[in-house]
Amino acid sequence: MIQNFTLFIPVFPLLAFAIIVLLTRRNNRLSAWIAIVGIIMALVLSLGVFLESLAEGPELAQHPFYAAPIVWYPYGLATMNFGWFVDPIGSVMLFMVPTVCLMIFIYSVAYMRHSHVDEQGHHIQEDDPRYSHFFAYISLFTAMMLLLVISSSLLQFFIAWEVMGFCSYALIGFWSFRGLKEHHIDEAQVGRARGASIKAFLVTRVGDILLLTGMILLLLVTGTLDFTQMFNPDGLNNVLLADSPLPGMTWLTLIALLIFGGTVGKSAQFPLHIWLPDAMEGPTPVSALIHAATMVSAGIFLIIRMFPLFVVDSQTGGNAMMWVAIIGAFTAIFAATIGLAQNDIKRVLAYSTISQLGYMLAALGIGAFVAGSFHLIMHAFFKALLFLAAGAVIHSVGTNDMLKMGGLWRKMPITFITFMIGAFALMGIFPFAGFWSKDEILLEALRAGFYGEASPQTQTIRFVYICLAIAAFLTALYTGRQIFLTFFGKPRDEHAYEHAHESPITMWAPLAVLATFTTFLGLWNAPFIGAFTHYIGEGGLMGLPQAFEHTAFDQLAWISMFLSLGIAIGGLIVAYLIYGFRPVAAGQPDPFARLGIIYKVLVNKYWLDELYGYKINLDGTVQRGLLIRFAGALSRGSYWLDRKVIDGLVNLAGWFGRILARLWGWFDARIIDGIVNATASVTGEIAGWWRTMQTGDVQNYALIAAAGAMAFAIIFLLRSFT
């Protein structure tokens, strides 16, 4: 029966947001507590729903917890309703999102206290000046993510999606306030934060407009946005198969691609990935919350939610899924290459996030629904762990630059161990979470591309597999580089090293919890257990009754497992050879730089920012990309044309009109007015004569009225007598 309270899950964080903003803004501790209590209550309720749906088992996929009791507004014959829709993957999201969020909230309590040295040389712990705001924002953010997970219709989904977009904007630019100068955040950082938040907002907007277009088309074609009505294979999908205005494309393909456009923006896929690395300007918990665990997951979750559309599309000859796979695979390898050349500890993680999201999309694109979903969940845990651990490092060292770190494992062992667990999971080392999920994706691609029946998609899937394999190697490589640069070798910046210390318990306890999850949760879908596959895959999806195939634990699985483990360890060994065997000394350039032009390309991220985005420089200035500058020039040209040529024509017309009006004015004053005045004076004469009728005597008027009645009486009499 807990499912009937599903709609209350987002209410608690939302309430926390409202209370903090309206009432307790001035009390930092209380605000933090309210936010944490809100997320705990949401977590309890979510876990109830999760357990209840676990009890339902795979049947839940065809008969999800669904109700849309709140009528928002009617349109046509239908109504737009608010409600909930919980199917197996949704319930797992309900488990993942509040758990990770709770960890991040607890972590933030200490993280948002900055330590700095004042003039007297004392270490001072001080709350961030907008400490309460921070908790309000992340509460709203969490509420919206939960609302998105339980949405019963695409419109509700979109509302939550957009509010999340706003929250990410507010949180990325959290430090973009002038007043923060006295709190030892330099001007460059303020400028960078401001630029990054605007950039994130604008770039994701591109994807959101595509999604909105897709939604509108979907509503136009099918007449509904409600998931239960949409995933009715007999009715709506047939409508969707009609030809769209674009040649050679059905409505289904068009809409699926537009929706995928929303995912590209939100989940930072090529070519709209450019916002995510810059978004690292926000506080680290924000990075963990938004850019690893939840918001970018929302993009993947959108594809998962709309997956029936994609599958039906691919079954009827459309190629939307192929594009998903290609974009995903390309992004996976592309982001991984950039990640190799980054020196900012958080940016490396950001590119790894992009790369891993590409993994998920590639998996979904080749039809490996369960593997993709599983990787989504696992990735959320270990990427949150990595971000939080990196945040702990930054918090204690006071810089983001890996080249200024080194040998930190002695100073902060707990952080080191948890970071290692996360890194191993990311690389895909046995037995951590990432190993199981990544291996499964590779296995599915391998099986479908090289051992399955030949199909039009086979070439694509082979390309995907090769990309993903290379990306796996690169992932191990840059993660290894990160570990060696950060934790091993000799300290390259003695001052920072001296300053470094282990984090307080409120910061490392969440790390420990997440590390535990990262270590053991992968077993959930280990090939010899397969509980996750059973729960998610066996029931299929609503509207797609056929089960997703259970990956057989056969010879090929062993081969793939060793292959992927080999690739990962290979990448790690290469990283050791470059960075671990002979540690980088202070002031020495990155050995990778010897590759010359390739390194330059990677450091500059293929100059994509300069091409069509915004480049945010270290000093906080923002540099517009080529395409944008071109567009600016174009609009300036149009402006000139408008002012000089068109306005000139208009002015000419106006001058001509003025001359004409003067003529008319004379005509009006002399002739027309003359006629009017003549009429008026004649009327005045007549009226002066007639006005004697106005006796001012009420009874006289009444008598005339009575005479009128009398006249009627006479008419009536005459009529009745004749």
Binding site: T692, Q694, G696, D697, V698, Q699, A706
Partner: protein, 108 residues
């Protein structure tokens, strides 16, 4: 009783009363007398309402619209008398007359 007196009697009486009242309203010189004529007219109308209620409605018990109307007319007549007489007294105080023919400020 009802059987023995036709509706036409009441209607004729009402018409006569109305005309007498109208004459009073049109021909009297005293403003108060004019008001009295108006009251007569209202009474005539009320007789019509009640007569039609009694003779005209299918179920005089459940459908008492005629009586209700007459009640409202009486109420409005009371209001009208109060305001009208207040006006007359006010005019009398300011102009020292209640002769309608002398109250003609609206004259051309």
């Amino acid at each position: 009783m009802i059987n023995d007196i036709p509706l036409v009697y009441y209607l004729s009486l009402s018409a006569a009363l109305f005309c007498v009242g109208l004459f009073g309203a049109l021909a009297r010189r005293n403003a108060i007398a004019v008001l009295m004529g108006i009251e007569l007219m209202l009474n005539a109308v009320n007789i019509n309402f009640v007569a039609f209620w009694r003779y005209g409605s299918v179920n005089p018990i459940l459908n008492q619209a005629g009586i209700v109307f007459a009640l409202f007319v009486i109420t409005v007549a009371a209001a009208e008398a109060a305001v009208g007489l207040a006006l007359v007294i006010s005019i009398y105080r300011s102009r020292d007359t209640v002769n309608v023919e002398e109250i003609d400020l609206l004259k051309w």
